[in-house]
């Protein structure tokens, strides 16, 4: 295996990050670091810049100013094998559910037999064995999200970043995904969870990052954040006030 595929990507850091569009500052963050053990919930209003921030840190887009580093270096292609980023809307390959998983394993350089075996186990864990041969694009919203999460985890990432993984899901799928997050926490794999569901953030989080108008206004232990909101914006958000 190439050396840069073995290197850790943690910590994921951003310094002086700025994105400006049409004179509007979408992201303005001095310093951010991901990789702390436990579940960090990223919360904030729609359009606050949460997804944009994650796309910056995962190297999907480049900042207008500032730098993003993984383990002190610029993001590198092979590093993506260790970064489990589940997008807001799952993008499935035009293949069966099983083939979607096998594809990721093959990209990691593992052989065909290992790919089949890992995909089978991942489908069982996600409770999706019965739809293994169904086209991934025919699955329900909940099944797609569970498959998408299985696809993220099959590469055994060092950090898992989930962008609203349970939005619009039925209770069964929601429970399945929350259980997986709890398992990752037990395995000491850092999880970053973007959510609008305050109850979910309360249930799952060790830390909370509150984002408003492209800025991180608070990054605190969850108990502390929820017991005494650290700023007026966070207080208004928690109370459902714009």
């Amino acid at each position: 295996m190439p050396e840069n595929q073995l290197q850790t990507i943690l910590p994921v850091q951003g310094k002086g990050l700025k994105i400006i569009r049409n004179a509007r500052v979408l992201v303005d963050i001095e310093d951010i670091e991901l990789g702390r053990q436990g579940v960090t919930s990223v919360i904030g209003h729609n359009g606050a810049g949460k997804t944009l921030l994650l796309k910056l840190l995962t190297g999907l887009i480049r900042p207008d100013q500032g730098v993003v580093t993984w383990n002190g270096k610029a993001p590198w292609r092979e590093g993506y094998a260790k970064l489990g980023y589940m997008k807001q809307n799952a993008v499935m390959l035009r293949r069966s559910a099983k083939a979607n998983l096998e594809f990721v394993v093959r990209q990691a350089g593992l052989d065909h037999i290992t790919g089949i075996s890992r995909a089978k186990i991942a489908l069982e864990k996600a409770g999706l064995s019965h739809i293994a041969n169904t086209s991934a694009r025919l699955l329900s919203g909940g099944e797609k999200q569970r498959l998408s999460l299985a696809r993220v985890l099959i590469g055994e990432p060092e950090i898992v970043i989930l962008d609203e993984p349970t939005a619009g899901l039925d209770p069964v799928s929601l429970r399945a995904i929350e259980n997986t997050i709890a398992d990752l926490r037990k395995k000491a794999i850092p999880v970053v969870l973007v959510t609008h569901d305050i109850a979910q953030a309360r249930r799952l989080s060790d830390f909370v990052m509150f984002v408003d108008q492209g800025k991180i206004l608070a990054h605190l232990p969850a108990d502390e954040f929820f017991s005494i909101p650290p700023c007026i914006e966070a207080d208004r958000f928690l109370n459902g006030i714009m």
Binding site: K55, T58, G59, L60, R77, E78, G79, Y80, A81, L83, Y85, K87, V91, L93, R94, R95, F103, V104, Q107, S135, A136, R137, L138
Partner: protein, 235 residues
């Protein structure tokens, strides 16, 4: 009325009795058109993929030109190739004029922009959908491109079919560079034009029926495949 009935009856008879001359023309037509489509795919699909995924200055201009070339007038293509391939032309030394190879070149010139433009369009749409995900998969540029093409396989099939449709129906360019020479460069479309002018309508009609059947068969096959793939959400 009776003459028309006889013509239709004779046309059926020629096709049904496997008339040797007729089938020689049909086979040459298929050989020329399929060769042109295969070559056009080897050029057009990678070109379409490049235009769909790589940003460079003047890309929009190239796209406009490519789309415009989808409607290249066959007689103009025929004339230009005639000038190039004729004995006094720059490629005259190759002695390709009035050979099936010249006809393949002419059809390739007409079909390649169609395949490339349609491939670009469908690959561009899919690339918008997949580009971030491919990056997250850690794919190389080549890996992303080959995966993209596999994901677009049914759309690309439609592009190939459109190319085949253009090639098999083409008459002007192949007539000019092929010469419509009996047992050498005579294909279905040129024979239909010739035999109609001669008043030999049975042969023209027989070939017309075969041409329509081939076109219908290929379209039905691709339509069926796309329908099945669409139902199973693979397209």
């Amino acid at each position: 009325m009776s003459d028309n009935s006889n013509t239709i009856w004779n046309a059926f008879a020629l096709v049904a009795t496997f008339d040797a001359d007729l089938y020689e023309i049909i086979l040459l037509s298929l050989k020329v058109s399929l060769s042109a489509v295969v070559i056009a795919c080897f050029i057009g699909i990678p070109a379409g993929a490049f235009l769909a995924t790589v940003n460079f200055p003047g890309r929009n201009l190239v796209n406009i030109l490519l789309n415009a070339m989808m409607g290249l007038p066959p007689v103009v293509v025929g004339l230009i190739l005639y000038l190039l391939l004729s004995a006094s032309g720059p490629a005259g030394v190759l002695r390709l004029l009035y050979t099936p190879s010249a006809m393949i070149i002419a059809q390739t010139v007409l079909v390649t922009p169609i395949v490339a433009a349609l491939a670009r369009q469908s690959l561009e749409e899919l690339n918008t959908e997949y580009s971030e995900q491919f990056k997250l998969f850690g794919l190389t540029r080549l890996g992303a491109l080959s995966t993209l093409m596999w994901e677009a396989r049914f759309n690309l099939l439609t592009a190939v079919l459109a190319g085949f449709g253009r090639a098999s129906a083409e008459v002007g360019a192949v007539l000019m560079v092929g010469g419509n020479i009996d047992h050498l460069t005579r294909v279905m479309t040129t024979t239909i034009a010739l035999e109609t002018s001669r008043g030999n309508l049975a042969v023209a009609l027989g070939l017309g029926m075969v041409l329509l059947l081939i076109s219908l068969g290929v379209n039905a096959l691709v339509y069926g495949l796309r329908l099945l793939a669409g139902r199973a959400k693979y397209a």
